[in-house]
């Protein structure tokens, strides 16, 4: 990369991230559904599963406190799905070829793509937190914990967005990106999102949840809400998110080089 390209990178990232945000804002389905659906599910779960808090060993007396972590994960999934589909559409429509004809760097494309996901991550995380608190959820780690929670939620959103970007670049079709969506949901259901791991009776389910990285992301968020400051839970959640971001960015970068076959 030339010095000129380096100096242009922030500007290119800004332009591409701005475009990603505009696309989200101008497409209500991309903005409203991913934000509202997890909140509706939270309301249903909280009212229906509140009795679970009576189980011996359940970590909190409020199912809302326990379940508040779930919308953050679902919001991240939706953001990843939408971002990935947008990128796949760019590939299918030839817009990526148009961008490839400019001096745009691959890093700018990836960063700009993540810009849209970050925007969605921030909007939805703030909303989930505010709605949770408004309906009585307590944040055991206090105001500082609330801010760390937002940071963690954004990290998780970015991790999922990197995965969505990789799938879009590798497969090049919106259908392929959409095809991964059920897999994400299975990962969420086979995690500790809906029950604490040590209360899962089925051995196979508990084993899967223990090896499922989504469990640790959920538990990181949950720890800030119901435990307070749990260094191990936070380190695991932030660590896994960072690892996923690095791994899928590297894979995306490689896939982008193949996709942008410009000489």
């Amino acid at each position: 990369m030339t010095a000129l390209a380096h100096s242009a990178l922030p500007s290119q990232v800004g332009l591409l991230a701005g475009r990603a945000v505009k696309r989200i804002l101008r497409n209500p389905a991309q903005l409203v559904f991913p934000v509202l659906f997890p909140l509706i599910l939270l309301a249903v779960n909280t009212s229906g599963l509140d009795a679970a808090t009576q189980l011996p060993g359940f970590p909190t007396a409020s199912y809302l406190d326990f379940a508040l972590a779930i919308p953050f994960m679902q919001g991240a999934l939706f953001a990843a799905l939408n971002g990935g589909q947008d990128l796949a559409r760019d590939i299918q429509d030839g817009f990526l070829d148009r961008l490839a004809m400019t001096p745009m760097s691959g890093a700018a494309l990836l960063a700009g793509q993540l810009g849209g996901a970050l925007f969605m991550g921030v909007i939805s995380a703030v909303l989930y937190l505010v709605v949770g608190i408004a309906f009585g959820a307590g944040i055991a780690s206090g105001v500082g914990g609330g801010l760390v929670l937002l940071l963690l939620a954004i990290s998780i959103s970015s991790a999922f967005a990197c995965f969505g970007t990789f799938v879009a670049l590798r497969a090049g079709t919106g259908e392929a990106v959409q095809g991964f969506f059920p897999l994400f949901f299975v990962l969420l259901f086979l995690s500790s999102a809906f029950f604490p791991r040590d209360l899962i009776e089925q051995d196979w389910f508990r084993v899967v949840a223990t090896y499922n990285p989504v469990s640790y992301m959920v538990e990181g968020i949950r720890s800030l809400v119901i435990t307070g400051w749990d260094g191990q839970a936070l380190a695991q959640a932030f660590g896994l998110s960072a690892l996923a971001i690095i791994a899928f960015l590297a894979l995306s970068s490689r896939a982008l080089r193949t996709r942008l076959v410009r000489t």
Partner: protein
């Protein structure tokens, strides 16, 4: 010094998986400032050639320079020198025309102030000022093509690649685009590499034409020279009196062979020489006291050229059976 360089292609090959050769060893030269029409049916290899020349596909073999830069080794320099409007108009449906210009200008590294001015100027030139703040998803096909052209011109490229720019456009939009392409070459000295499957488009716009079929260039030259290679013009005379048809045919016989006319009461002759015989024909008819109501000269078309070179008509050629061997083609031309 690269200012005066156009396009130089030598033995270019692009092979895809399964050994399919979309471009099979083509040579072509485009001088700076000229419009080169690359004519051929669907699937002939036009778009693949454009993608190689615009650095979007690496060549399998052979070499090509664009604006003096090697497409395989100096991709970034080639891209800085060219503007491209590909066959499928690639726009973001959620962005307005003006936003497209700003995004493209920013990525091209055009300073912010100049970006806005140049963008507005181009939108005006292509007739999109009034629609500049509308999302591109509301544009008609012709408007999208015009925005695509404006985007390709934003960074003032020396060479412009247009891949079937008028496919699917109505006559009015097509004519407007032709005018703009001709103006670019005439007034700004832009070299234009234009692929098309429309004979008329190549005929009207191009200084030179290359005809490609199944990855191979089968003919190249100026439209007039190509047509002169394969066919002579035809003159059609309509005598005032229908009974004068035989006398008209006799008067025209020294100028060429009689061919079937396009309408009854008309005599048609394929001229041995060319259009320069027209004055002699008028004199011969006058000497024979034949009054005529119409006399028309029909030039051969590029379709005649395509037919002569490939044995098939350009229209529907993409669906025609596999081409005959090159040796057979040469015999047919002899």
């Amino acid at each position: 010094m690269t200012e005066e360089r156009g396009i130089d292609v030598q033995g270019l090959v692009r092979e895809f998986k399964g050994g399919v050769r979309a471009v099979d060893g083509i040579d072509l030269q485009v001088a700076a400032g000229e419009i080169y029409g690359f004519l051929g049916p669907n699937g002939a290899g036009k778009s693949t050639t454009v993608k190689v020349l615009t650095t979007l596909l690496p060549p399998t073999a052979g070499s090509a320079t664009v604006a003096g830069y090697d497409v395989a080794e100096e991709g970034a320099k080639v891209r800085a020198a060219i503007g491209v409007a590909l066959q499928d108009v690639a726009l973001d449906p959620m962005l307005t025309g003006r936003e497209h210009m700003r995004l493209q200008g920013g990525l091209q590294g055009i300073p912010r102030a100049e970006r806005g001015r140049r963008g507005d100027e181009l939108l005006e030139r292509v007739g999109l000022s009034a629609a500049a703040d509308r999302k591109s998803k509301t544009y008609s096909g012709g408007m999208k093509r015009r925005l695509d052209l404006a985007l390709a011109l934003l960074h003032k490229p020396r060479i412009l690649f247009l891949d079937e720019p008028t496919t699917g456009l109505d006559v009015q939009s097509r004519t407007a685009l032709w005018d703009e392409v001709a103006r670019l070459a005439r007034d700004e000295g832009t070299t234009v590499f234009l692929t098309t499957q429309y004979l008329e488009e190549a005929d009207v716009l191009a200084n030179h034409v290359g005809i490609i079929d199944r990855g191979v260039i089968v003919a190249e030259g100026t439209p007039a020279a190509l047509k002169a290679q394969v066919a002579k013009p035809t003159v059609e005379v309509v005598p005032r009196e229908a009974g004068d048809c035989a006398a008209t045919a006799a008067a025209l016989r020294p100028f060429g062979d009689t061919v079937p006319p396009s309408a009854a009461g008309t005599v048609a002759v394929r001229l041995d020489s060319g259009a320069e015989q027209l004055a002699d024909i008028v004199r011969a008819l006058d000497s024979a006291n034949i009054a005529v109501v119409n006399l028309a000269l029909h030039e051969p078309t590029l379709d005649d050229v395509f037919l002569a070179k490939t044995g098939r008509s350009l229209e529907g050629a993409a669906d025609a059976p596999p081409e005959e061997p090159a040796a057979d083609r040469e015999r047919a031309l002899a």
